[in-house]
């Protein structure tokens, strides 16, 4: 398997994010949004064929669906009904790993999908609501994808509204330990992070080509644990790029990161 030289940042992120699902075994992989869904699809097609995925509507599939319009003769590979009520049976069993894109992620790994600014009774910006984040965060592993790594997402202080539980001792429920909380990878347009630093501090795992640790720190509103050696995020292989292209025939991935930049700036601009 040869590493590609010509790939986009979106494709680099898909491959990096797919690693989150590699060692999950037989769980439901839920990737919300184009890049997380393609990451889960890639993992199911390559490193972890035991994964389960839905059609994002009501059926569990034995093969992930390509994104977008699929043509009249396409038949998806249903294996069981998986309506929303049954999703919760799965969530509460813990056999799921979701990758989602919240609006804020604080130093504890708590996230916000609900409201920004103002007061809770009269927020400056009302967003989606807590959705399934509270239940996801306490029931099963979760990862995050952030298409624009900046200090508005990774903000100083605590989230305006805490939609998902994180490694915050001040909010730890009685009888629980911080080890019960399982936040896996945080993949952004700059790097890959996790919460594996001292006392669950956010930690730099790898830097995308051409990005420095200083850049990541400057764009993060709280201190990051930076190991002595930080590898470069692995480039996609040609095989991975072929699978991604087949899963995303309408190239929706080109619209997920601003200006669709090249994955390796030194290799030239593909966009």
């Amino acid at each position: 398997m040869t590493a590609a030289t010509d790939y986009t940042l979106a494709e680099l992120c898909i491959v990096a994010a797919s690693k989150a699902f590699e060692n999950d075994g037989e769980v439901l992989a839920t990737g919300i949004g184009v890049i997380p869904r393609l990451a889960a699809s890639l993992a199911m097609k390559t490193t972890n064929p035991d994964l389960m995925m839905t059609d994002s509507e009501a059926w569990l599939l034995s093969e992930p669906n390509p994104l977008g319009a699929r043509g009249e003769d396409f038949a998806q590979a249903n294996e069981t009904w998986m309506g929303f009520s049954r999703i919760f049976d799965n969530v509460w069993s813990g056999r799921r790993h979701a990758m989602l894109g919240p609006t804020q992620i604080d130093k504890y790994g708590q996230s916000n999908t609900s409201a920004l600014g103002g007061t809770y009774d009269k927020p400056k910006v009302m967003m989606l609501g807590a959705r399934g984040f509270p239940g996801n965060s306490i029931s099963h592993p979760n990862s995050f994808f952030v298409p624009s790594h900046n200090t508005r997402v990774f903000m100083d202080g605590e989230c305006d509204f805490v939609s998902s539980i994180g490694y915050n001792p001040g909010r730890l429920p009685k009888g629980h330990s911080l080890e019960d909380i399982d936040i896996r990878l945080v993949v952004t347009d700059l790097c890959v992070m996790d919460f594996g630093g001292p006392d669950h501090q956010v930690r730099l795992v790898s830097l995308h080509p051409g990005i420095t640790a200083e850049q990541v720190q400057e764009n993060t509103g709280y201190p990051i644990h930076i190991p002595d050696e930080v590898p470069t995020t692995a480039a996609p292989t040609e095989e991975q790029l072929t699978i991604i292209a087949a899963m995303d025939p309408h190239n929706q991935r080109a619209y997920q990161i601003k200006d669709n930049p090249a994955g390796d700036p030194a290799a030239g601009d593909r966009s």
Partner: protein
């Protein structure tokens, strides 16, 4: 028992201040014709419990709502419901914000006659700090604390289904019935609009009967309104109306706001509404969405 009635009959049974559950999910299979009949009424101070879409947005914008119990309010392809946003950002409504699964538990508790169902969902989040009505309790069986999700008792539920008979046997043939069975069970009275009214014999076929998700005793009234979910979807009969939702969302940015939207579309009856949106054939020909 013949449970057939009109949308006006349904609204005549509603009262100011009632707690009303609305079935469906976001822009999918919402009882919009019944919602429109509420918009035409003088009802006010309603508490709405919903996996919300334009049902919640329209009722908020029209001043019908005191409180919303929600986990999200979204039109899917338009992620943020424009009028719900306005209502929240102007502080016009009270809220009980819960997790999607907690709402399911609250409906189940109400359906089963329980005061609450214990869950770990919500612990460590602002769901438990922002909701004085949601208590965290000790367990008699372990040393952990648990969220006691209270029963979401509903005075009335409104649901749209594919087809029903006059006795209230309701079929949802689309891929997901969402939590509609729990909405039906959690309410004192459940009123159902249906795209097709069928004879009871229709359900003799086990394949058809298998798509009936609650028994008729949980259905109070049946209103035959073909296309009654528009502009939401009623998969497999029709998809949601993307251009209509875009026009609806755009109206929130106009000075005339919801009044401009209602003046253009609502009409004095569902017949007028359907004329204003291009007729039933146009509704029935809306393509299903691809996810």
């Amino acid at each position: 028992m013949d449970k057939r009635m009109s949308a006006a009959d349904v609204v005549a049974q509603l009262r100011d201040g009632m707690t009303i559950g609305i079935g469906g999910w976001g822009p999918r299979r919402k009882p919009m014709a019944l919602v429109r009949e509420i918009l035409r009424s003088d009802l006010k101070d309603l508490t709405i419990v919903s996996y919300g879409g334009a049902d919640v947005g329209m009722l908020c914008a029209a001043g019908k709502v005191k409180k919303v119990v929600f986990a999200f309010v979204s039109l899917d392809f338009i992620p943020l419901e424009p009028y719900f946003r306005q209502a929240r950002q102007s502080g016009a409504i009270e809220v009980m914000e819960v997790d999607e699964g907690m709402m399911l538990l609250g409906l189940r508790a109400a359906a089963w006659g329980l005061p609450f169902i214990p869950t770990e969902v919500g612990l460590g989040t602002d769901i438990v700090t922002r909701n004085p009505d949601i208590k965290v309790i000790d367990s008699p069986y372990d040393d952990k604390e648990w969220v006691a999700m209270p029963a979401l008792k509903l005075d009335v539920s409104l649901i749209h289904v594919d087809r029903a008979d006059a006795r209230g046997v309701c079929q949802i043939a689309g891929p997901d019935h969402y939590m509609d069975d729990w909405y039906a069970r959690a309410a004192d009275k459940t009123f159902v609009s249906c795209d097709e009214l069928v004879e009871t014999e229709f359900f003799r076929d086990p394949a058809q009967a298998r798509l009936v998700h609650w028994e008729r005793a949980a259905t109070t009234g049946v209103v035959h309104i073909p296309g009654g979910a528009h502009p939401s979807s009623c998969n497999p009969l029709y998809g949601f109306d993307v251009p209509h939702f875009k026009a609806y969302a755009a109206s929130a940015k106009e000075e005339t706001g919801i009044q401009g939207y209602l003046d253009q579309y609502l009409g004095a009856s569902e017949e007028q509404y359907q004329q204003n949106v291009g007729g039933l054939d146009a509704i029935r020909s809306i393509e299903l969405p691809t996810y």
